[in-house]
């Protein structure tokens, strides 16, 4: 409870003219404490509204989930781009491969990914590609036959992705390449649910490199047959 002094009514409170902040304002009962109290009220009600809305929203975030199992800290994005001008020994792809290796993860480059795609075992389901991007990007174009698995909403994709992964001998996981580490998150998630680590490979170049290499992409759902050949 806060005590309010008498004589501070809105219209007739005797606040001297010099206290009026803006000339065009009618005299108001203002005080720093009152404004901050109002701000506190806005903060409390606003926070309640915000967490409630997140809870109700179908796209809401789960507060207790670790969305970045590979680590929360991220380098400045530009840093990796800079290294692309350096010698091949420190190319971004090699740096990334080394980083993944430190985490106990395996990687493949563009050439290896292409070989796996053309391998007859791919048609038999022994080699599978997993797209770790969101649904919109997946629909816009993915590696033909790739299975969708957004690591931010894994429960939505486990039922379709897990049987495919369990049956496969080699699983190639990709996202947008470069700074995108959603493929890492997806790999760790799949590893955590029991897919053998030796089967999991991260395609570091991701879909941009795939398209740059002139390889086909599939539009729409998995095995939609709607293929588009990228122009080199």
């Amino acid at each position: 409870m806060f005590v309010v002094r008498q004589g501070m009514a809105h219209a007739d409170c005797p606040i001297p003219l010099k206290d009026k902040i803006i000339q065009c304002e009618t005299p108001v009962c203002h005080g720093t404490a009152k404004i901050f109290l109002e701000a506190l009220l806005v903060a409390v009600i606003g926070a309640t509204f915000a967490f409630g809305a997140n809870l109700i929203s179908p796209r809401g975030l789960a507060l207790t989930r670790n969305y970045f199992p590979a680590g929360i800290s991220r380098p400045v994005p530009a840093a990796r781009d800079i290294t692309s001008t350096n010698s091949p020994a420190t190319s971004p792809a090699q740096l990334l491969a080394a980083q993944l290796q430190q985490q106990g993860l395996q990687s493949v480059d563009g050439r290896q990914a292409e070989q796996l795609f053309h391998d007859p075992r791919f048609q038999q389901g022994s080699i599978v590609f997993i797209d770790a991007r969101d649904e919109q990007h997946y629909q816009e174009g993915h590696i033909p036959g790739a299975c969708e698995f957004d690591p931010y909403y894994p429960e939505k994709y486990f039922s379709t992705a897990l049987p495919v992964c369990q049956a496969a001998e080699q699983i190639v996981i990709y996202c947008n390449g470069g700074d995108c580490d959603d493929s890492e998150s997806a790999t760790i998630l799949l590893r955590d649910v029991g897919i053998a680590n030796r089967k999991l490979f991260i395609y570091t170049g991701g879909i941009p490199e795939w398209i740059t290499n002139g390889l086909p992409v599939e539009i729409g759902g998995r095995n939609s047959g709607n293929l588009r050949s990228a122009i080199k």
């Binding site: 803006i22 108001v28 901050f36 109290l37 009600i45 796209r59 507060l63 929360i72 800290s73 400045v76």
Partner: protein
């Protein structure tokens, strides 16, 4: 200055203040909605700033901030608790501006380009933007928030001040009968 001229000035100032309140409210509503509709993208953006190491805190910031901005935007549009909301906007905008500035400096030094040529997605809800434009926008929003905090924009308000003086000046306990 005569009375009519003073009254004319007041009217003009009032109109501008109301427009300022609506503009700031609309901007926050728009930016908040952009983030709230793509919470994962915003989560990734918040992560880039390396603010916290706890996933719970990171998730909480990314989950609550967009909806809080929407809330503040709605309050300003409706004219409810305007000065309290303005305080909250300043409390959010000032640290955001500092963080964006620091990040832009880091990118500038990494890329060795002029400061104003730095363009990146700051997670503000507008996609990629040139840093100088972003800073200008933020300074403008801060200035308008300070103006609203000063008591402007009272016209067309549902309830400019939550704790009105009239209610408080009644004898304590009068409403508890």
């Amino acid at each position: 200055m005569n009375t009519s001229s003073s009254s004319w000035n007041c009217t003009v100032a009032d109109i501008f203040a109301v427009l300022a309140r609506w503009s700031v409210g609309a901007v926050f509503l728009y930016l908040g909605l952009n983030k709230a509709l793509h919470p994962v993208e915003f989560l990734k953006m918040v992560r880039q700033y390396d603010l916290v190491q706890s996933s719970l805190l990171l998730n909480s910031i990314a989950a609550a901030l967009p909806w809080f901005e929407i809330f503040c935007g709605l309050l300003l549009l409706a004219g409810v608790a305007v000065r309290g909301t303005a305080v909250m906007l300043i409390v959010m905008l000032v640290p955001f501006t500092v963080l964006v500035f620091r990040r832009a400096l880091a990118i500038q030094s990494a890329l060795a380009i002029p400061f104003c040529a730095v363009k990146f997605d700051c997670g503000c809800g507008n996609g990629e933007e040139f840093i100088c434009r972003k800073l200008l926008e933020n300074f403008l929003l801060i200035a308008l928030s300070i103006w609203l905090l000063a008591g402007c924009g009272r016209r067309l308000c549902l309830r400019h001040t939550l704790m009105s003086c009239a209610a408080k000046t009644s004898p304590i306990g009068a409403g508890l009968k």
